[in-house]
Symmetry: C2
Subunit: 425 residues, 2 copies
């Protein structure tokens, strides 16, 4: 049987995370020099831990914390990682596993395995953090630890600062690292872009596969199942970037449909538009693709009007966006093109510039045009320190208003068509 995929999961280059660490080192050293601070101390991050579901022994499938994934690429839970600012040396600290681990969970790998796999300078156990860092320290006085602590502007949650036994033997700096590291993640290296590209390619192919097989009478979740299967079976993508949104009919008007309280469980009807927003993740790097089409293969005139309004907005943004352009302006451009289309289609009457001033577009596009994309779907760096979110309708939902730069990973999230068409239907 011919494979329904023309793609092969690419090998994962461990050098990618070496480069990420160098990017951070350069930024951090520059930052410290600019504030005339000594180039000593360690960046110290705590990786993620496996989580139990409530009080049970059901363990959720572990996915590494994103900052830790960026710097170390470690897929296992329970690690710490450090970078020596003076020497650039990197150290991983692995959990010391009990002998029963081998029976229940698999081979207990020697430290050399992690050293080679993750291309770090040294590997020790997590109970050796204080000793090792003190031994490695070349400066005078108490060594400084640069610990990750800061707000995520999409969730308003704070990253959890690393904790370990013996941390009291160090000075800790909780403010310097977060803005510097968040900013490093904004501009993607070529190997990072290649992973995002693969996640996009396999997801696109999966969307096409779903489009081929969609039928009236199916459940929405069957579209999700087909997508998940294609990206895992042929792309090796065990995780998605976010919960699959398989919205049809009126559900297409719900931006983040598909969660447990609205679980893709409607039956597809003749005449529905489908809005499918699904993206796979490959080696921590994600994709985020929305596409929309009539389930029965034929647009009604109303659906075509809305679809083309969004397509025109999409094309306008794609042909205008380039380094130096403001994302806020791209949002407004998309909004304007949509309003113009709605006016041409006699859904709106009046002057489009007036509508723009009144922020009418926010009724049809309540979400922001798009967002940074990377190890997180809504990636870090949307609002760097000192920048502020707009309070205006529509614009306040923008996850970033930055000027575009080469190497930024972004997703444009034009979903308006379906929302518009379905809220009207």
């Amino acid at each position: 049987m011919a494979s329904p995929s023309s793609l092969t999961p690419p090998p994962v280059p461990p050098e990618l995370h070496v480069t990420n660490r160098e990017t951070l080192l350069n930024s951090l050293r520059r930052h410290l020099s600019e504030s005339s601070r000594p180039l000593y101390g360690f960046v110290l991050l705590q990786g993620g831990e496996e989580q139990n579901r409530y009080d049970t022994d059901h363990t959720e499938l572990f996915r590494q914390e994103s900052y830790f994934a960026y710097l170390f690429g470690v897929r296992e839970p329970g690690f710490y990682g450090a970078i020596d600012i003076a020497t650039g040396k990197s150290v991983l600290f692995a959990p010391r596993l009990p002998a029963e681990y081998a029976v229940w969970l698999g081979e207990i790998k020697p430290l050399s395995y992690f050293k080679e796999r993750y291309m770090v300078s040294m590997v020790h156990y997590t109970d050796e953090i204080a000793t090792v860092l003190h031994d490695e320290y070349k400066g005078s006085g108490k060594p400084v630890l640069f610990i990750l602590h800061g707000i995520n502007t999409d969730s308003d949650l704070f990253s959890k600062p690393a904790e370990f036994q013996g941390i009291d033997k160090f000075d800790t700096d909780l403010t310097t690292l977060h803005p510097v590291l968040s900013e490093c993640r904004v501009i993607k290296s070529d190997p990072e872009l290649a992973l995002i590209q693969f996640a996009n390619d396999i997801s696109s192919e999966a969307h096409v596969e779903v489009m081929r097989k969609i039928r009236v009478g199916m459940y929405e979740y069957q579209l999700e199942s087909m997508f998940l299967h294609h990206t895992y079976m042929y792309g090796g993508c065990r995780h998605c970037s976010y919960t699959c949104i398989c919205a049809t009919g009126d559900n297409s008007a719900v931006l983040h449909y598909g969660h447990a309280a609205a679980p893709n469980d409607r039956i597809l009807e003749d005449g529905d538009l489908a809005l499918l927003d699904m993206g796979a993740e490959y080696n921590f790097y994600g994709s985020d693709i929305t596409c929309s089409y009539p389930v029965n293969g034929k647009f009604t005139p109303d659906q075509a009007l809305i679809y083309n309004a969004v397509l025109d907005a999409h094309n306008a943004v794609i042909s205008t966006m380039k380094p130096g352009v403001s994302w806020l302006d791209m949002h407004k451009l998309a909004e304007k093109v949509i309003l113009e289309s709605l006016k041409r289609g006699r859904i709106l009457v009046g002057n489009v510039d007036d509508m723009m001033v009144k922020r009418l577009g926010a009724v049809f596009m309540p979400h922001g045009l798009g967002h940074l994309l990377g190890i997180d779907t809504h990636d870090t760096g949307g609002y760097p320190k000192g920048t502020e979110r707009s309070k205006e309708p529509g614009l306040k939902s923008l996850r970033t208003t930055r000027e575009l730069q080469e190497g930024m990973g972004t997703k444009s999230a034009l979903k308006a068509s379906h929302e518009r068409s379905n809220t009207d239907n």
Copy 2:
């Protein structure tokens, strides 16, 4: 195209949870009467909350906390539930959602929707818990809340007691509910058994599908992908009971292979045995099925010896187990049959009874024979208060040593064949 499934997801009977509440009420009233305590007060449980991944706005797919699922069947996060011990009335408390919820997450359902869907007596908002329960209380003095607090004997974790604003206006009893409710979950009603049956049927069918399509050269995760797809696409099972274990070659010797640090990423080789341990969950109720076979379709003599040893043990247990029989004895029976087979196959020499005394079987079957199965894969009630775990090799891994009763959901976990054959190969 003919569907590769002969099954249809059954409708979910909401009465099932009404029955579960009645079961609890009867047990709790009996328990209170026996200790001459008044039949007043409320059972109060807090449902699960949606979780963010670390500091990001990535939300994990929500799955209801198991005790809450048992009593109320609520699929949405953020609820509380109460049962009035005097009247038997049930109350759900729903979160008050902000207007933006409708744009981002879907229709804000009226309280009447939840009342009907979950067949409870009343629905209020979570900020009304204290008021409503005080109004409903018919006893004298401060109303007593029976709160869930106790240890899970598989995880050694404690359930999180309910918390809400105004709880100080009640007396709280943290010891009575947990053992009573855990025990209620042990014996399954017919509608519960029907859900477990369906989860088993669709999972069995998916295992057969995987068996048909398995080929040398595939990745282990492709087997997982096929299983997940079959159970979701045709069974509507969005969750599995546990992370899929797709172990081949030496990996088959690892009991809980398949997690993030050992992620089903080996390539299948000619001559491998596959040990596939996968089970879907349907409407909270789970399945747990292991099957094992040679990837190339032909057992080697060694593999056949081990496979048949396990098959014989399996058959011996199945034909002996019935209400009244001790699960500890079933474990020993399985062990003995395996040791006898290994002796016949000249892998072991000596007297099997002596081996039993020395607990030699634990080398080949380090895990317990099986466990209770239901809303949790390792379901509650394995070791009721007053019973203790054995400290002997093999037996200490038993998740229960109870006497079997009609209506218990159990899984027999005979995996020894693969461990044995692969650690030797």
